[in-house]
């Protein structure tokens, strides 16, 4: 079966891939072109018989060419409470939307992230198989299949929650929903069509897995192509939904009164759309990795046989690894998003980091610190099952020290909570020592140190269970030693230097700090990998021997990821302050205020708990199916006389 992977088959597979991509790439343009024509027609109609030319409106964002567009829709309505809002008693309608939106987003992110991992796993499986190791290749393929199964049930739940969300909007925010759906009408049907496409592809992809693998082996590449399509459609769906959200934050394509100006692309391609999409994709991937890792951890803890334990230990490591791969670039994407926010409206940026929402960022900082410390902790635990890693244990305390000091600096707020007596004793609102760590200079230094430390931990993990054999290993070690230590020195140096220069120059310092971190990541990991060539393992990795603490660390990771998403959602929503659509559609409901952090924290924790409870149900469902399948497999194996493949490599 494996030898059927001939050249011609690969070509067919590649062609299918290409065809699917082109189809998908062209698909959105047909309706958009139609909608443009439609918009022009409407513009003429709206203006009526009196003038030949439609009235032009000035875009709130786009300048230069395209600054003016024909007014093609009604202005943003002035919302009136209670007519344009609905209520269920005294309960904040806004909170109902908050919860249903967040749940939908959680499940949506999950079903977006899992196909990404599955695709990577499947590809790795194919490549390993082609290199000759069929058993390991199948292992990865089975892993991919198992991950996909979890996603399937979650997909239905996503759809149900989406329905609940829409009903909530209709019931509680009809005025707002009417305006927004009016603006986005030209592309709404694409969103609906994409759902149909996604469902179709998803079911064929999942249910056709074995069929495409086993019976028609040539179709493996085709199956992977389907996976590509699935991911592409999923991302397209997310991008479309994202345009609504980023339009609310930074509208474009409308004039100051909210009239649609005819070009739906301008509306969709509003200033914050792309940075939010990039940040979201990475965040979803990290979040998905966390969820799958938690699932695998749970299965690991409840596994009864060593093989099962080994299998799930391995699965949790893979999932966590992919999640962390996505986590590493996430701060950069977030930083880019902040820069775009500042570039769009400086006030918005200052509200976020230096004004009303500054304390919320302390929560975000807490989450990020939790994430990094947990990852490092998990890796330290994971080295417990790598024979030979004892040599590196002495290094842990230094890495931990760097992490702890960085976290303390990272978490320090600029202004402390004090009583008037304390204030008097201190002689000011800023503590003479600690106050210095509350500024950007210190924060960037801290996070870069934390990321670098995580990379170092990972590099140690890569090599901890082998004896190096390359002749230049000693040179490599010295090189790596200085690469890493000088990176820390540079990060610290820039951090301290930042205190002596004006704010507008200091901001630029973060770029070389980040570049130092990235240097360690790319150069360090590459050199490390090269050094592992021909290395002789001290012993087999003992999958299944992970400590219980490590499993619980993965749960912590999953919760931290989930909570981070919740608090970032709270930030995104709150930065609009009292606007439904920034500067265009004002919120005139009684809940136009921004919730204090405590309330948000409570709702966030509630959302996380709710999500994980629902997820537990989803996992239980997929475990049911597995239990049945495993029973069948075991029976077959017993009769055939071969053992079920062991879980180690």
């Amino acid at each position: 079966m494996l030898n059927v992977f001939g050249e011609s088959k690969k070509k067919i597979g590649a062609l299918i891939l290409l065809g699917m991509f082109s189809f998908l790439a062209l698909l959105p343009f047909a309706p958009v072109a139609t909608s443009l024509a439609l918009a022009e027609e409407e513009a003429a109609v709206v203006e009526g018989e009196e003038s030949d030319e439609p009235k032009m409106g000035k875009d709130v964002f786009y300048k230069e060419e395209g600054e003016f567009g024909p007014i093609s829709g009604p202005p943003a309505p002035t919302m009136v409470y209670p007519d344009d809002y609905g209520t269920y008693g005294d309960f904040q309608s806004r909170t109902i939307i908050w919860i249903s939106n967040q749940q939908h987003l959680y499940f949506g992110s999950f079903v977006l992230a899992v196909p990404m991992f599955v695709w990577v796993m499947e590809l790795i499986g194919i490549m390993i198989t082609q290199k000759g190791d069929a058993k390991l290749g199948k292992k990865f393929d089975d892993l991919a299949h198992e991950m996909m199964k979890i996603s399937l049930t979650a997909y239905s739940v996503t759809a149900i929650l989406g329905g609940i969300l829409i009903f909530s909007f209709l019931a509680l925010y009809p005025g707002f929903f009417r305006y927004l759906s009016g603006i986005f009408r030209p592309v709404m049907h694409i969103y609906a069509l994409l759902f149909i496409l996604e469902s179709g592809v998803l079911y064929v992809y999942y249910y056709g897995w074995d069929a495409m693998n086993d019976r028609c082996g040539d179709w493996k590449w085709g199956h992977l192509a389907l996976g590509t399509v699935l991911n592409a459609v999923g991302i397209a769906l997310m991008v479309m939904a994202n345009t609504w959200v980023s339009f609310m934050m930074s509208p474009a394509g409308v004039d100051a009164e909210g009239h649609f100006l005819g070009d739906i692309w301008k509306v969709m391609h509003n200033p914050l759309m792309v940075p939010v999409v990039v940040h979201r994709i990475l965040g979803n991937a990290a979040f998905g990795g966390g969820v799958v890792a938690a699932y695998a951890s749970f299965r690991f803890l409840s596994a009864k046989t060593p093989e099962e334990k080994g299998h799930y230990d391995w699965m949790s490591y893979i999932a966590m690894f992919m999640g962390i791969l996505a986590l590493i670039p996430l701060p950069f994407a977030g930083y880019w998003l902040m820069r775009e926010i500042y570039g769009y409206r400086q006030q918005m940026g200052i509200t976020l980091m230096g004004g009303l929402l500054a304390w919320v960022f302390i929560m975000q900082a807490t989450m990020i610190a939790t994430l990094f410390i947990t990852v490092n902790y998990y890796l330290f635990q994971a080295m417990g099952r790598m024979p030979g890693s004892e040599r590196y244990y002495p290094a842990f305390k230094f890495l931990l020290a760097i992490l702890v000091v960085s976290t303390i600096s990272w978490l320090t707020p600029h202004t402390l909570v004090m009583t008037p007596a304390e204030l008097k004793a201190m002689g000011g609102a800023q503590h003479p020592v600690v106050g210095n760590y509350g500024v950007m200079s210190a924060k960037n230094t801290a996070i870069n140190c934390m990321i670098t430390t995580t990379v170092v931990t990972f590099m140690i993990y890569q090599r901890c269970n082998v004896n190096l054999k390359v002749p230049w290993a000693w040179k490599g070690n010295i090189f790596l030693g200085f690469l890493i230590s000088m990176a820390y020195v540079n990060i610290l140096f820039l951090g301290v230097y930042g205190y002596y220069i004006p704010a507008n120059v200091r901001i630029g310092l973060s770029v070389p700090q980040v570049a130092s971190t990235l240097t360690v990541l790319f150069v360090g990991v590459t050199v490390n990998l090269k050094m592992l060539k021909g290395a002789e393992p001290v012993g087999e990795i003992q999958w299944g021997k992970m400590s219980v603490r490590g499993a619980y660390a993965l749960f912590m990771l999953a919760v931290a990821f989930t909570w981070t998403m919740a608090v970032m959602g709270y930030l995104r929503s709150s930065v609009r302050l009292h606007w439904h659509v920034n500067e265009i559609l004002r919120d005139n409901s009684p809940w136009a205020f921004t919730n204090p952090l405590g309330y948000a924290g409570n709702i966030n924790s509630l959302n996380v708990l709710l999500f994980w409870t629902m997820l537990l149900f989803v996992f239980w469902l997929s475990a049911l199916a597995t239990a049945g399948k495993k029973k069948v497999e075991a029976e077959e194996a017993a009769t055939a006389g071969t053992a079920v493949p062991a879980g180690s490599h």
Partner: protein, 52 residues
């Protein structure tokens, strides 16, 4: 922490030389090249989106 390398022992002098080269190289790279490239000319680019 040894990396388990079983190659022939390398003399301290050689290690020292390598160390000095790597230290100098890293210092040049980080403290001069990186900072200058990313701070110097970049300051003049409109990359900084006009704030501050």
């Amino acid at each position: 922490m040894s990396d388990g390398n079983t190659q022939a022992k390398v003399g301290f002098g050689q290690k020292l030389v390598m160390g000095v080269i790597c230290f100098a190289g890293a210092a040049l790279y980080y403290l001069l090249f990186l900072n200058w490239v990313l701070m110097g000319p970049a300051q003049n680019l409109d990359y900084f989106y006009g704030f501050g």
